[in-house]
Amino acid sequence: MAEDNKNTESQSKWYKSKELTDYGIFLLILVVLLSVISLFIITNRNTWNKGLSEQVKIVLEKNGYKKVAVDRVPLTINSPMTTSCAAYTVNYEGCADNEKAIILKVSTLYGPVAAVYLYHGNKTVDFVDFTSSERISEKQNKDLSKNMQINYWKNRIPAILPEAVENKEGGSK
């Protein structure tokens, strides 16, 4: 009887230590996964800003703007509801001081597309182009979206860029 009690006690100790080991491994896997994700997020900030600023430059040059220079340091967007966009200070031939370009995702009848706008200050915004607009469908999309989606963002951009401040950690994903 005493021996049986000892056996059951040692078995329950073994089960508990096994459970602890299993939970420990699970926690370790969680920590490793979160670390990998954090590492990617931190290292990808530059890639995100560089890639989108290059895209802004390409779109502006394609639409006739000359000597375009886009600052790779992004501006802070003042809106928690605005996702998937980035704003940069831009210079081109004949531009005024403190002009900004913003690239953001616009939902259209043809699906979501990336669009580039120019903010001249004093709540003046011009739509430049979609990032991809060679095909007929894309041209039709631009025509169809003019009254609604494109104009919506033309009115919205001054509200989300009112006090744009250069910030090395800006740009929302």
Binding site: I25, Y110, P112
Partner: protein, 223 residues
Amino acid sequence: MKKNEMYSYIAASLAILIPVQGRFAYGLILIIALNLFLIFGILVRKLLVKIQLQDFQSVITAVFLVSAAILYKQILIFYSPVNALVLGFSIYMTAAATYLTSFLYGNTERTLKDDIIFNMKKSRNYSILALVFFLFRDIFGYGTITFPVYSGLKSIVLIKSKSNFSFGTFWATIPGALFLFAMLIALFALINNKFNILAETEESSGENKPVEEKASEEKKNDQ
């Protein structure tokens, strides 16, 4: 295919296939994501069985799938920031679709290898269908086949159109995608129905064989 599975595939398709632009490049990105999330979800499910946390399986699997989606989006940002901007939330919808279509919230007694093979076979058929769906929209809606690159999309132009209006552009729109999807479901339902009728006919013909044939079969079996 069972009805439950059919409904979950319809829901998954509405989340992945319809709200995205009809470019083959985006289809490629999302279908690769779907299959990677599937393998990841199966591995997580096996891990939870091993450490006896099956009670929390549905929640933990969902959390891990979202983590996988975040990681995939970061990898996509590294590969192509513009495409990551355009796809945005669709990657998280793909994770949700994986959870639905693979029944990752349920239990299975298959081994890990058998589970992966079984689910990948199902996913293969759906992936091919989805890629064909995107390819159709890209070719007939835009006249191109596109592939994802760092600067956005690499297009191979197949149809050069000189006019300013083209009827094919309907397939590039969201309503066009819905219409195409509805046609595919109708076609699939028709084919599935025919196969079911054939199967039922074969079963019933097996039961109603004449007595002489049954006797001759029995003699052959005895020999």
